[in-house]
Amino acid sequence: MTSLLDRLLRWPVTAVLWKDVVLETRTKDTLVSVFVFALLSIVVFNFALNPTPQNVAVVAPGILWVAFTFGGVLGLTRSFAVEKERGGMQSLLLTPAGRDSIYLGKVLSIFVFMIAVEVVTFPIFAVIYNLPLAAPEFIPVALLATLGIAAVGTLFSAMAVNTRAREVMLPLLFLPIAVPVIVAAVEASRPAITGEPWGDAIQWLPILGVFDVVFLVICSLGFGYVVQD
């Protein structure tokens, strides 16, 4: 078992993921900040919009993905700040691992952290908005949309971390490009969250899948240029 894990961790993608997971278990910076932000957003929107059984199906998916996306921005900023602080990114770039492997490792770690926050936040969201707690149809939507957000966000986070106003730059760069993923996620989440039949909403799942593939390919190619000094 140990030897299998050791062999798995010799793949740069999983090595970067392991490193980020261990760092996160020590500091909990990303998980706590993303979770608190997502939770606060959900609570504030609940008071601001006062959703009723009649309009909850319209507003709830949007609220959920605004909370996850903006929370994710915090996590993305933190993820690359750790690399920047002591020349960690330089040390990664000095290894023979391909830039695309480093990128994919960072995407995976951000994906894992965001999914962990979503797993905890979704039941709270369902209780607050009086929605079904069990929503298995939401799982593929969450997985595909979160992967898309992580794929785009990782590239722009690597870009923004070298700017002086990185906290401002990241959302400015990331959100316009991530809009298709967020729109698709909101549309695909509606039947999953409210328990309605999929209907036309099912078409958003392959669209999300295509976005993920396109973003992963383009961003992994662009990452090498972004991190070059």
Binding site: P12, A15, V82, R86, G87, Q90, P96, D229
Partner: protein, 282 residues
């Protein structure tokens, strides 16, 4: 990922050469021409915005040599090191490390070079062991625990291996940084002010690392502000000024080099030269 430099053996490290682990075979696996220069920089130019940091710089380093690079702030020392470490690309000119073009064989160049920069380049919330294990994985190295033990022993940090790096002093972090650079037993060491933050005993250990690399047939490019360190460790000295090599000379004869001659310039005169170029950069 296949490891192709784990066979490099340095004297005094306790690693015995094996039939499949000789330096020659290691060179062959990396595609190195044995007679090639360790570092060859020709006409390298690099600008950041409108500022030209390197301006047609030429530099060579032979195997078994230590080249000390001195220069005032802003003379392009760190930029040169970043280009050699494949962290940035020159705008013009050519670079070859161990006979390889970093543009075409970046991964192999990174396997052949160990880099110590000014920052420790370690994760503060991981222990020394976890940091080094992570870099062993990133290099795809076999026998990581043996490598870690060997490299920390060389920098005298065995007793601090399981302590979080962030709790260590800057000097101790720097020692771990040197250990990280040695993990894959590189043939070329690139060091940017390695002595900064180190105490006297650590400086001695660092000197041992440099000497052992040189004695093992490797090469070391040492960027420093410490004039005495540069003269004490270097076989050759290059003083950078205005993005070029302003002065270069051999400090001691090179073993085996035909007609190798030591310098005729006294340390005092070299110091004067260095100060002159520092003055020009101001």
């Amino acid at each position: 990922m296949k490891n192709d430099v784990n066979a490099y053996v340095q004297p005094g490290t306790g690693h015995k050469p094996t039939p499949e682990g000789s330096a020659a075979q290691d060179s062959a696996r990396q595609g190195l021409a044995p007679e090639s220069l360790a570092i060859e920089v020709r006409g390298v130019t690099k600008s950041y915005g409108r500022t030209r940091v390197l301006d047609g710089l030429d530099l060579t380093l032979q195997w078994g040599q230590v080249l000390s690079v001195l220069g005032p702030n802003g003379s392009g020392k760190t930029t040169l090191l970043k280009i050699l470490a494949t962290l940035t690309r020159p705008d013009a000119g050519s670079v070859r490390i161990a006979g390889m073009d970093p543009d075409k064989a970046a991964s192999r160049v990174r396997r052949a070079t160990g880099v110590v920069m000014h920052d420790p380049m370690l994760y503060a919330d991981l222990t020394g062991r976890e940091n080094l294990r992570f870099f062993c994985r990133m290099f795809g190295l076999d026998g990581s625990e043996e490598r870690i033990a060997e490299s920390v022993r060389r920098v005298g940090m065995t007793s601090r291996l399981d302590q979080r790096v962030g709790t260590l002093s800057h000097g101790m972090q720097k020692r771990f940084s040197i250990a990280r650079a040695l993990l894959h037993r590189p043939r070329v060491l690139l060091m940017d002010e390695p002595e900064s933050g180190l105490d006297l005993s650590a400086i001695e250990l660092m000197r041992d690392v440099v000497t052992a690399t040189k004695a093992g047939g490797g090469a070391v490019l040492l960027v420093t502000h410490n004039f005495d360190q540069a003269l004490g460790l270097g076989d050759r000295l290059a003083i950078l000024g205005r993005g070029k090599v302003a002065h270069e000379e051999a400090l001691r004869p090179v073993q085996g080099a035909a007609g190798g001659k030591a310098n005729t310039t006294s340390p005092e005169a070299l110091r004067e030269l260095y100060l002159k170029h520092s003055g020009e950069s101001r």
